[in-house]
Amino acid sequence: MIKPTSPIDPSTHPISIVGLKKSFGDLHVLRDIDLELYKGENLVVLGRSGTGKSVLIKIVSGLLKQDSGTVNVLGQEVDKLNTNELQQLRLKIGFSFQNSALYDSMTVKENLEFPLVRNTPNMTRKEINIAIEDVLEGVGLLQALNQMPSELSGGQRKRIGIARTLIMRPEIMLYDEPTAGLDPITCIDINNLINEVQEKYNTSSIIITHDLTCAKSTGDRVMMLLDGRFVRTGTFEEVFATDDERIKTFYNYNFTS
C-alpha cells in the first residue's frame, strides 16, 4: 500500500507533532501538544519532573502510543507504521536514556557493536572496529573499550550511551534528562558533548530536561511544558522574560537550589 505523502517537508522539519494527547488512566499527561523540530536545531523541552516530557519523546520514538494527534517523524506518521517500518525509522533516531540503559552483561565494545552488527550485516569486522573507535574517540572514552558498564562513572555511562546511539549515524537525537544525577562539572561536559554532536553529525535534537543550565547551554530554542501544554516557546531568555508566576518559580527554584 502506498501511504499518502505528508504535507510536512521532512528535510526542513524532521519532527512535527500536532494536537498530541496522552493519558494514563485518569491522569492527563499531555493535553494538546504541537511541536515542530527544525533541521539541525537543538530543541529543549523544559519542565518539572512528572510533566510528561519523557512520555513525549517515547511517543516520538514509538515506544508509547498517543491517544490522539499526529506525530510525524522524517515524513512518516509513527503510529501508522508496521513493526518493520518502525524498526527502519528507529535506525534514524538516536535515543539517549536518562539512566544510559547500557546492557549490563556486555562490555562497552559489545554495547556499541550491538546495534551495528544487527542492523548493518554487510559491515566487515574491521569496519565495525573502526566505527566503534571513532565514536568512542568522539565522546573521549577510547580507553573504556573493554570495560563493563558497572565499572564506569555516571558521566562515562552517559557518554557511552550517547556513543551507542551515534554509531548508527542518526538524523535525530532524543536526549532524556542528559544531565540528571551528574555533578556540575560532568554536566558541563555532557552539555558540550551535546553541542559537539549537533555540529559534527548535523543532528536535529530534542533535549528533555529540568536543568536550566543544560537548557541554556544546549538549546537553540526552548519550549516550556506546564500542565501538559507548551506555555512558552523561544530562546532561553525569551522563555523566562515573563510575568507568569509558575515559570518564574521554576526559574528561581532551579537557580537558587
Partner: protein, 260 residues
C-alpha cells in the same frame, strides 16, 4: 472511604481475568514470533549454554544424591519382604517416570527461572529493553523467544542426564550392600522400563522447560518499575513455575496412566 467486600472481590476477579488475558497475549506473541524470521540462533545457542551447561554441577549433585538416598531409604522396606533384588528395578521406575524430570524441573525453576525473571526484570526497569527496541532490535524475539526455546530444549536433556546420574547414585548404594556387577544392575534397572515411560518423561520435561522459560520471561518482561519489581519478578518466576510444574505432573500422569 472504606471499600465494601463485594467491591474488593469484584476488583480481584477483574484483575485475575486481566492477568489471564495478558498471559494469553504473551503466549500468542511467543508462538507468532517463534515462527517469523529473523531467527536469533546465536543468542539461542548462548542461552542453551547458560541454561544447560551452567546448570550441570547443581543437577549432577542433586541427581546423584536423589538416586543414592532413594535407594538407601527403599532398601529396608524391600529387604523386609526379601525383595532387595528388586531395588534397581523399583528405583529406575521411580527415577525415570517421575523423579528425574521433576527434580530437574524444580532445580531449574529455582536456578534458571529466578535468573530469567531477575535479569529481564532488571533490564525492564533500567530501560535496557526500551534501548534495545529503539536500536532496531525486537527485544521480545531476542530476549523472550530465545530463553523460552532454550529452557524447552535444555530441560529434557538435563532430565535425561539427571536420570543417568541418579541411577549411578543408586548403583553406588547397591554395590555397597550387594555383590552386583554394573551390567546386571543396568539390566535389572531397565527390564521394567517401557518406551512409554521414557517418552512420557521427556515430554513432561519439555513441558516443564517451556513452563519455566515462559513464566520467568513473563514475570521479568512485565515487571513493574523499581528494584522491588525485580525481586517480585524473580520470586514469582520460581513460585508460579513450581506450582504449575506440580499441576502438569498430575495431569500428565493421569494421561499416561490412561494410555498405559
Amino acid at each position: 472511604m472504606k471499600k465494601s467486600g463485594k467491591y474488593v472481590i469484584s476488583k480481584k476477579i477483574d484483575g485475575l481475568f486481566i492477568a489471564l488475558h495478558d498471559v494469553y497475549r504473551f503466549l500468542l506473541r511467543f508462538f507468532k514470533e517463534v515462527l517469523l524470521p529473523p531467527y536469533e540462533f546465536k543468542e539461542l545457542v548462548k542461552q542453551c549454554y547458560d541454561i544447560g551447561y551452567k546448570s550441570l554441577p547443581l543437577i549432577t549433585l542433586t541427581g546423584f544424591i536423589t538416586g543414592l538416598v532413594f535407594t538407601k531409604q527403599s532398601r529396608p522396606s524391600l529387604a523386609e519382604f526379601g525383595a532387595a533384588s528388586w531395588l534397581p528395578s523399583l528405583v529406575s521406575i521411580a527415577i525415570i517416570r517421575a523423579l528425574a524430570p521433576l527434580v530437574t524441573a524444580l532445580i531449574a525453576a529455582g536456578k534458571v527461572g529466578s535468573q530469567i525473571g531477575a535479569e529481564l526484570g532488571s533490564m525492564k526497569v533500567t530501560e535496557q529493553i526500551d534501548a534495545m527496541e529503539v536500536s532496531g532490535t525486537n527485544p521480545f524475539k531476542f530476549l523472550v523467544v530465545t530463553r523460552i526455546l532454550a529452557t524447552t530444549f535444555m530441560i529434557p536433556i538435563l532430565a535425561v542426564y539427571t536420570g543417568v546420574v541418579a541411577l549411578a547414585g543408586s548403583f553406588i548404594n547397591v554395590t555397597q550392600n550387594e555383590q552386583t556387577s554394573f551390567s546386571s544392575f543396568v539390566e535389572s534397572a531397565l527390564q521394567n522400563i517401557s518406551f512409554l515411560d521414557l517418552f512420557s518423561s521427556v515430554i513432561k520435561a519439555t513441558l516443564f522447560g517451556f513452563t519455566i522459560g515462559a513464566v520467568g520471561c513473563y514475570q521479568g518482561y512485565n515487571s513493574s518499575k523499581g528494584t522491588e519489581g525485580v525481586g517480585k519478578a524473580a520470586n514469582s518466576a520460581v513460585v508460579v513455575s513450581m506450582f504449575l510444574i506440580f499441576i502438569e505432573e498430575i495431569l500428565v500422569v493421569q494421561v499416561v496412566n490412561a494410555i498405559r
